[in-house]
Every structure is written in C-alpha cells, then in structure tokens.
C-alpha cells in the first residue's frame, strides 16, 4: 500500500488515475488513452493555440526574478518579483484584443509558468507546468497568446510549485474591458488582495486603498482574492451592487446594504459602490485589516454584518445559453478525507470520489458535450474549486435550484457538507486542471483533470523540467 502510493519521478498526466466517461461514449480506455477515441485525430496540447499570426494589440514582457519583498513594518521576506515588483503590472485589454505576454525567468531555480486564472484561453496558453508546458528554467522564456473574449476581472499567477510561488509574489491582475469605452461608466478600481508574510495588502500595499471620486459618482471595485482562504467584503455604510462574479456580469443585481459578500480563494467579485451625494466617504472592508475608502475622509471601520449575499438567489434569472437538463456527461467530484499514503507520506489526505491522488478520475469529454458535474464536500473543510479553461453555470446547491441571476463560476467555494450541481459546455479542447485553489490543498492531492478525448500532452509531471504544477 505504501509502495503503491509512490508517485513516479516522471509521469504523464494522461496515465494518471482512471478514465471517467461520465456516462458518455468512448472506449473504456487503456491508461494512455487518446488514440482510438472516436474519429477525431489525436491533437497535442501544443497545437491548441490561438492560431493566427496576427500582431498583438496588447504586448507585455514580464521578467520574473528572486527578490526581497519589503513589508510595512520594515521586515523583508524572500520572494519573487515580476518586472521588479509584486504584484506584477496590471494588464488591461479590450474585448477582441490579441494579448501577447512574454514571460522571462531570470533566476528562479524551481522554474516558473504563468496561468491566466479565469480566462478561457486556448489550452497551449494555460501555463500549467507538466500539462501544457515545461516550467521555464532560469534564462528561458515563453510567449503566451490569446484573444480577450469576455470582459471582466481576472488574474495571472505561476502554476509551477504554485503553493509557494503564488504566495511569494508571482501574480498580478488582468482586466478585460468592453470592446468600446462606455460613456458614464463608473470609475474603475482594481483591488487585488494578497497576503505577504502576515501583511494583508491591496495592490501590494498595506493599509487602505484610497480612491477619491466626486460626490455622487460611482466606482466599480474589482476585488481579486489571490490567497488560499475566503475573503469577505462589506460596506461601512450605504449599499453596493454585485456587478460581476468570476468575470461574468450578473443579471439585474439589486442593492445590498446589510450583508457581506464572499470572494472565494482565486475568485473575483466586482462591486458597484456610489459615493453619497452629501459628500461623505464610504469604506469597503476587505477582510479584517484593510479596505477601499471611496472619498477623501477616513470613515471608522465597522464590524462585518452577519448576513451574506447568496448568489443562488441574487439578481434576476435569465435563460441559460444551453440545455442543462439533458447533459451528455455527468460527473461526480466528491471530496472526502481519509488516512493513507500520499507519495509515501502517511497522513489524512483529501480524496476525490474516494480515491487518493494520483489515483483520481480523468473526467473525459468530447468537444460540444454538455457536462454536468456534482461537486460535493464531506471532508470537514471548505474547498474553493477552480476549473481551468471553462466557466460553469451553477444549477443548484443542496438540491435547491438557482433562482437568481445566471451565476457563472470558475472558482466556486464548496463548504463542508455542501453539494453543488454545475454545468458547462465542453467548448475549449485541451487538458484542464480542475483543482482546489487553496493551493496547499492542491499540493496535498486535491487535483483532477478534465480531458478532451482526442487530446494528448507531450509534457511530463516531474521529469527533467521538474514540473510540479501544484
């Protein structure tokens, strides 16, 4: 049992665990599946690119290096920087833009990558070490190209030794704006929350972020939670509206005055906040120690309200763009915890459908499938589950159907004892991680993959590039 738990020094994600077809067609496969799956020819992840040679509209070079991160109390921690700072530069693009980012590794020995969290990029640009690329060794570089499709709030971060590299600074914000500037749009504010050491920061600085806008004007505050635990946002006075979640606008958002909103690890929430016409200022709390202050004054902090915005019933319903009632595949993603060996180490480890990593399901689909997934958690702790390359529609929680706005997610927190049904269209071929974004949990084995039946990867986990995406 101990020997069986050992993970080989190099292995393909394609040979990981067992194939789960979710009740759809496909051969019950040899472990190295791919060949002989339907009529579609075999495709490598490296071929799943943006596909054009078009000149980029937004071109950014990000140079990663080791560096000390200075904290407010004068202490410094060893970390990583992008273009000399952390978080890295905020990237802005408009819908339709071709974004081209060149990542350069100066001296980070473990290797690095960049993943575009929440952006449904082509698989070759997903930036997962050992799945869609090799980690970049010092001196190496890589170009990521994708077309900005969905306006919204996103972030980027390393997906090599992610539990350590994200915490220590390899991250930044990326915002996709609508194709054309909208007249009268609220003032745009990014609030990227990150914990460096024990320092809670917004956009890299401790303390409050001050945004001075005229009385009566409004701000769109884009909250990005880059940490491993949930972040809670609430207003000191007045009301806000939840404009968007995970890069997707909500339909018919209403005013919220007496509740906080949960931003799961990895998740984003955009809030609309008006500065009162009487000229007073408002404080948006982000967790305990800091916030965004709108207006010139410095309102006193207040305690969090006991109520919480429930996105299952918030906003107005709208028809779904696909029929989720008759899915082509149904998958279970049931999280538990039990005693066992993970790569030879004894402990109480996370399980997926009762199995310990790497003996986990490979959720296998074909392009065009409507997929329903049941996410259930009986593990004793909460898990913010992140699916790469797709956005899923929340159908129900604990059997109660969604009655509010269509609620699209890429980062959905499943609390202990909860069960969600989500659905998505398999419209982005590739091999995609589907994992917990409490990154130490991912490192403890809470990782599975969604694989399109005809896609294969030449990259190896472990191996010469020491690929270790978690």
């Amino acid at each position: 049992m101990w020997a069986l738990s050992l993970v080989p020094a190099r292995y393909s994600a394609m040979s990981m665990g067992y194939v789960d077809l979710g009740g759809g067609p496909g051969e019950l496969a040899p472990h190295t599946h791919g060949a002989g799956y339907g009529e579609a020819p075999l495709v490598e992840v490296t071929d799943l690119t943006e596909g054009s040679s078009r000149a980029p509209d937004v071109s950014v070079t990000l140079t990663a290096a080791r560096g000390a991160i200075r904290l407010g109390d004068g202490d410094a921690i060893d970390g990583y920087t992008l273009n000399g700072g952390t978080p890295g530069p905020e990237i802005r693009a408009r819908v339709g833009d071709l974004v081209e980012v060149t990542l350069v590794n100066t001296d980070i020995d473990a290797g690095i990558t960049l993943h575009w969290h929440g952006i449904d990029v082509p698989n070759a640009a997903d930036g997962v070490a050992g799945i869609t690329q090799d980690a970049l060794a010092p001196g190496e570089s890589q170009v990521y190209r994708f077309v900005a499709k969905d306006a919204g709030t996103y972030w980027y971060h390393s997906h090599q030794v992610a539990h350590e590299q994200v915490r220590r600074g390899l991250l930044g914000a990326i915002v996709i704006e609508p194709a054309a500037a909208e007249a009268g749009a609220p003032v745009d504010v990014v609030a990227l929350a990150h914990l460096y050491g024990a320092a809670h920061t917004i956009n890299g600085a401790e303390g409050d972020l001050h945004v001075d806008i005229p009385a009566g004007a409004s701000a769109r505050v884009r909250i990005i939670n880059t940490d491993n635990g949930a972040l809670f946002a609430w207003l000191g006075s007045g009301s806000f509206r939840v404009l968007a979640v995970d890069g997707h606008d909500l339909n018919g958002p209403s005013d919220v005055s007496d509740a906080e909103v949960r931003v799961p690890a990895g998740g984003r929430v955009d809030l609309l906040i008006a500065r009162p016409a009487d000229g007073s200022s408002v404080r948006l709390h982000l967790g305990g120690p800091r916030g965004v202050v709108i207006g010139p004054a410095d309102p006193e902090p207040v305690r969090a309200p006991t109520g919480q915005v429930d996105l299952l019933s918030y906003g107005e319903p709208a028809p779904a763009p696909f029929d989720a009632t008759a899915p082509d595949r149904r998958f279970d993603y049931v999280i538990g915890r039990r005693w066992g060996f993970l790569d030879g180490r004894p402990g109480a480890w996370w399980t997926i459908n009762g199995h310990l990593y790497p003996d986990v399901p490979m959720f296998t689909v074909e392009e065009g499938d409507v997929v329903m997934m049941r996410l259930a958690n009986h593990s004793g702790q909460a898990h913010p589950m992140h699916l790469h390359g797709h956005h899923a529609l929340v159908l129900s929680r604990d059997g109660v159907p969604s009655t509010g706005s269509p609620w699209w997610v890429d980062s959905l927190e499943v609390l202990d004892g909860e069960e969600y049904e989500i659905a998505f269209v398999a419209d982005n071929p590739g091999i995609w991680m589907d994992h917990c974004h409490n990154l130490p949990h991912a490192q403890e084995g809470l990782v599975a993959h969604l694989a399109y039946a005809n896609v294969t990867t030449p990259f190896l986990l472990g191996g010469d590039a020491k690929n270790e995406p978690e």
């Binding site: 539990h163 350590e164 915490r167 929350a193 914990l195 050491g197 024990a198 809670h200 939670n225 940490d227 491993n228 635990g229 949930a230 972040l231 809670f232 690890a265 967790g287 305990g288 120690p289 915890r337 004894p346 402990g347 109480a348 004793g380 702790q381 202990d416 004892g417 409490n438 130490p440």
Partner: protein
C-alpha cells in the same frame, strides 16, 4: 520487556503533555500576536505562512498527535501482545483505542466545534490510561492493583 512496556507507556503520558503544552503555547502566541495588531482571517488562517513564532505549536500538535503518539501506542500494543500478559494487552488496547477516538475527535471538531470539548476531555482519559498501563500493565501478581483494572484477571 516489562521495562520497555513501562517506558513506552510513560512516554505516551509525556507526549500527551506535549499535546496540551504545544496547543496552549500556540494559542497564547496567537493571542499576543493579535494584541500586537496581527489579523487572523480566513486568508491568513489558510495561508502557509508562519504568522507568529508560537504557531509552530500547532504544527507540533498535529505531527505529534497524528504520527508519533499513534506510532508509540501501536508499539506498546505489539509489546503487550508479545508478552502475552493479558492486563498489558488490555491497557495497551485501550490506549490505542483512545488515541483513535482522539484523532477522530480532532478532525471532526473542524466541522463541529463542540467536539473539541470531548477532544480535550478524552486527552485526560488517554493520559490516565497510559499512566495506569505504565504502573500496573505488566504486574500479574499484584491483586491490590489488579482490582483497579477494568477486567478481572482469569486466575
């Protein structure tokens, strides 16, 4: 063998003491860190960061409780089985059972906090059992003490 059994049983007593001490140390460290302006919220709680030095106490508690104590308890039972001393086996078995209950309660209290109360009380029961095992576990010919054992000796 009798000495080994005794030493292991008393070792468990000491390790249970380490459990109480490490958790108290970490809790006190958390208190003074918060007093000094530290903020513990979900993002800090779930981070891998060492927020304050005494936080190591939580790590010691987890490692000692999930690895070392179960391991020593298992060895205690093995020694008892080899010795074929009925009372030694009974007490070692009870120690291992309480260790299992203790770990279960520790994890279950993440979901139901009230179970942590039982976790604390069960620690005392475990300490007492290990102490008793060390004192009388292998004494087969001491009727005064044997009467204190839960089961009656066959002779």
């Amino acid at each position: 063998m009798r000495t080994t059994y005794k030493v292991l049983a008393y070792t468990i007593c000491v390790l249970v003491g380490v459990q109480a001490a490490s958790h108290a140390w970490a809790s006190a460290g958390l208190g003074s860190w918060v007093e000094g302006g530290g903020v513990l919220d979900s993002t800090a709680f779930e981070s891998d960061e060492s927020l304050f030095p005494e936080m190591a106490g939580f790590g010691i508690h987890a490692m000692n409780g999930m690895m070392i104590i179960p391991f020593v308890s298992l060895i205690l039972l093995v020694i008892a089985l080899i010795s074929r001393t009925r009372k030694a086996m009974q007490w070692a078995g009870l120690v291992l059972l309480l260790v299992g209950v203790q770990i279960f309660l520790g994890f279950a209290s993440f979901g139901v906090a009230a179970l942590a109360i039982l976790h604390g009380l069960n620690a005392l029961a475990l300490f007492t059992c290990a102490l008793t095992a060390g004192r009388i576990g292998m004494r087969v010919d001491a009727p005064a003490v044997a009467a204190a054992a839960p089961a009656v000796e066959g002779s």
